[in-house]
C-alpha cells in the first residue's frame, strides 16, 4: 500500500473531492458485496462431488462369465463408486462415498431362515466360498431416470436358495439390510423405516439373472455399492437391489418392503423397469446413462424382457408396478 500524503488526512481540512479514495472505497465495497452474495448463494446451493473408492482386488480365478452379459460400455469405476443412492448414509448421491468408510464389513454374518429345510447362519467369507463367483455385466436403471452398466461379481441367488432347500410354503423371499445407526449415520433419521427391507417373488428370486454380488469389476464390492453382500435384480429399478444384506427369509406372504411402505403411490413391490408406466413426477420413457449427456429410450424390463417377461404373463403391470 502506498502511504497517503499527510495533508489529505488532516482533520478539519476542507472536504475536497477525493476521486481516488472514493473509487477505491467503492471498488472494495463492490467486491465485498459481490463476494458475499456469490459466496452465500454458492454455500446454499452447491453440492460438491465425491471421490471414488480405492478398490481392493478380489482374487478368485477363473471367473466364468454370465450368459446375459451386455456388451455396452461399462460405467467407469470412478462414477460407479461416487454416485450412489444409499439412504443409510445420507440423501446425497455423494454421501455414501464420503461416509461408507466407517462401515465394518468383516466379520459379517448372514442368516438364511424362514420356509427352508436347512436354515443357516453363515459368515460372509464362508458363504462366498460355497459358490464359484461369476462376472455379470448388467444394465442398472434407477427409478430416478439414470442408468449405469455395472460389472458385478457374485453368485446366483438360486444357488444359495437351493442349498437351504425352500419348503412348499415358500412363496416370497424377504431381504433385510443391516440396522446399525453407529455405522449408518442416515439411520439416525426416520426418513425411512429402518432396517431397509426388500422382497422378491420366489420365481423372481430363482431366476438365473438374479445375483448376490460381493464384488465389482474384479474387486471387492466397495462399501458404497453395498458391501459385503447385495442383491442385484437387473430388470427392476435399482432400489429393489438391497445392499448390506444380513438376512434372507423365505416367507408365505408378500413382504412389506421399505419404499413401497414409504410412498406406495410412487414405488410398488414389483418395480419392474417399464417405460410405459410413468413415475408420478416424471416420465420413465427415457433415461440418462451416466457418462452420457443425452437421454436414451428405456427398454421394457430394462432390456431383459426376453428373459423375464414370462414371469408376469397375464399381470396388469400398470397396477402391479
Amino acid at each position: 500500500m502506498t502511504p497517503t500524503p499527510p495533508e489529505r488526512d488532516e482533520p478539519g481540512a476542507p472536504d475536497p473531492v477525493r476521486p481516488r479514495r472514493e473509487f477505491l472505497r467503492n471498488a472494495a465495497l463492490f467486491t465485498g458485496t459481490a463476494l458475499a452474495l456469490g459466496g452465500g448463494l454458492e454455500l446454499l446451493t452447491r453440492r460438491p462431488g465425491a471421490g471414488e473408492a480405492a478398490g481392493e482386488p478380489l482374487v478368485q480365478a477363473p471367473r466364468p462369465t454370465g450368459p446375459y452379459d451386455t456388451t455396452e460400455a461399462v460405467t467407469p469405476w470412478a462414477q460407479a463408486t461416487s454416485y450412489n443412492n444409499y439412504y443409510e448414509f445420507g440423501l446425497g448421491k455423494d454421501d455414501p462415498a464420503r461416509l461408507a468408510g466407517g462401515l465394518k464389513t468383516r466379520p459379517w454374518t448372514v442368516l438364511i431362515d424362514g420356509e427352508v429345510r436347512k436354515p443357516v447362519r453363515v459368515d460372509i467369507d464362508t458363504l462366498q466360498s460355497w459358490f464359484p463367483l461369476e462376472d455379470r455385466v448388467y444394465r442398472m436403471r434407477c427409478v430416478e431416470g439414470w442408468s449405469m452398466v455395472m460389472p458385478w461379481l457374485g453368485f446366483p441367488l438360486a444357488a444359495l436358495l437351493r442349498r437351504v432347500e425352500p419348503t412348499g410354503g415358500a412363496k416370497y423371499v424377504k431381504f433385510t439390510a443391516l440396522h446399525d445407526p453407529d455405522q449408518f449415520p442416515g439411520q439416525h433419521t426416520s426418513l425411512l423405516d429402518w432396517p431397509y427391507v426388500e422382497g422378491l417373488r420366489l420365481d423372481e428370486a430363482l431366476h438365473p439373472l438374479t445375483l448376490m454380488a460381493v464384488g465389482l469389476d474384479g474387486r471387492v464390492l466397495p462399501n458404497q455399492n453395498g458391501a459385503p453382500l447385495r442383491l442385484v435384480v437387473p430388470w427392476k429399478y435399482g432400489f429393489k437391489s438391497i445392499k448390506a444384506v444380513v438376512r434372507i427369509t423365505l416367507t408365505r406372504e408378500q413382504p412389506q418392503t421399505t419404499w413401497a411402505l414409504a410412498a406406495p403411490d410412487e414405488y410398488g413391490f414389483y418395480a419392474n423397469v417399464n417405460p410405459a408406466v410413468p413415475h408420478p413426477r416424471w416420465s420413465q420413457a427415457t433415461e440418462r446413462r451416466i457418462g452420457e449427456l443425452r437421454r436414451r429410450p428405456t427398454l421394457p424390463f430394462n432390456g431383459y424382457a426376453e428373459q423375464v417377461a414370462h414371469l408376469y404373463a397375464g399381470m396388469d403391470l400398470h397396477r402391479f408396478f
Binding site: 467503492n26 471498488a27 465495497l29 463492490f30 467486491t31 465485498g32 458485496t33 459481490a34 463476494l35 458475499a36 452474495l37 456469490g38 459466496g39 448463494l41 454458492e42 446454499l44 446451493t45 452447491r46 453440492r47 460438491p48 462431488g49 465425491a50 462414477q79 461416487s82 454416485y83 439412504y87 440423501l91 448421491k93 455423494d94 430416478e144 439414470w146 433419521t189 426418513l191 425411512l192 414409504a262 410413468p278 408420478p280 413426477r281 416424471w282 416420465s283 420413457a285 427415457t286 440418462r288 451416466i290 457418462g291 449427456l293 443425452r294 437421454r295
Partner: protein
Amino acid sequence: MSRAASSSRSAPRRASPLPWLEPGVVVGGLLPAAILALDAVTGALGANPVQRATLQTGLLALALLLLSLACTPLRLLTGWTWPARIRKALGLLAFGYAALHFLIYLLDHGFSPGLLVEDVLERPFVTAGFAALVLLLPLALTSTRDSVRRMGFPAWQRLHRLVYLAAGLGALHYWWGVKKDHTAPLLAALILAGLLGLRLLRRGRRRP
C-alpha cells in the same frame, strides 16, 4: 423512502447513491453461474452433471426470489433504503436462473415439445415449476422504469404482485421435487410465509 433516509442517519455525503451496491449484487448473483459453467467444463459436476446443474439452477432461482421478496420487509423493519435499490436486480437474477433451469430441462429432454406438454399437463410437480416461470416472465419484461411509467404505478404494482404466486409455486415445485427429506423445501416455504406475513401485518396496521 427519502424521509426514512434523512431521518435515520446523519449522512456524511448529501446524496448516498451507493454506486457499488447494485453492480455488486449483479456480479455476486452471476458468480454461481460462472462457477457452474466452470465446474461443467472441468467435469466437477460429478457423475450426473445435467442433474446437478438442474438442481443448482433451481435452488439459485428460489433463493434469489426469496431474497428479492425480503427487500421490502427489510426496508420496512429497519428504515434502510438500500434494500429497495437491489430488489429489481435480485428479481431479474431469480428469473435468469429459473429460465436457465428450464432451458437445461428442455435440453435434457431433447427439446421435445410433446414431452413438455405431457409433463406440464400430467405431472403437478412440473406444472407448478412451469407456471412459476410463466408468471415471472411478464415481471421480467416490465422491470424497466419505462414500463412503470407506461403502465402507471398502480397497474404495474398489481401485475408485480404475481411474484407472490410465482414464489409459492416455486416452493411447491421444490417440495414435490424432493423424494424424501423435506427439510429444505419446508424451510423455503416458511421463509416465504414469513415474508408474506410481514407484509400482511404492515397492511393491516396501515388500514385499521
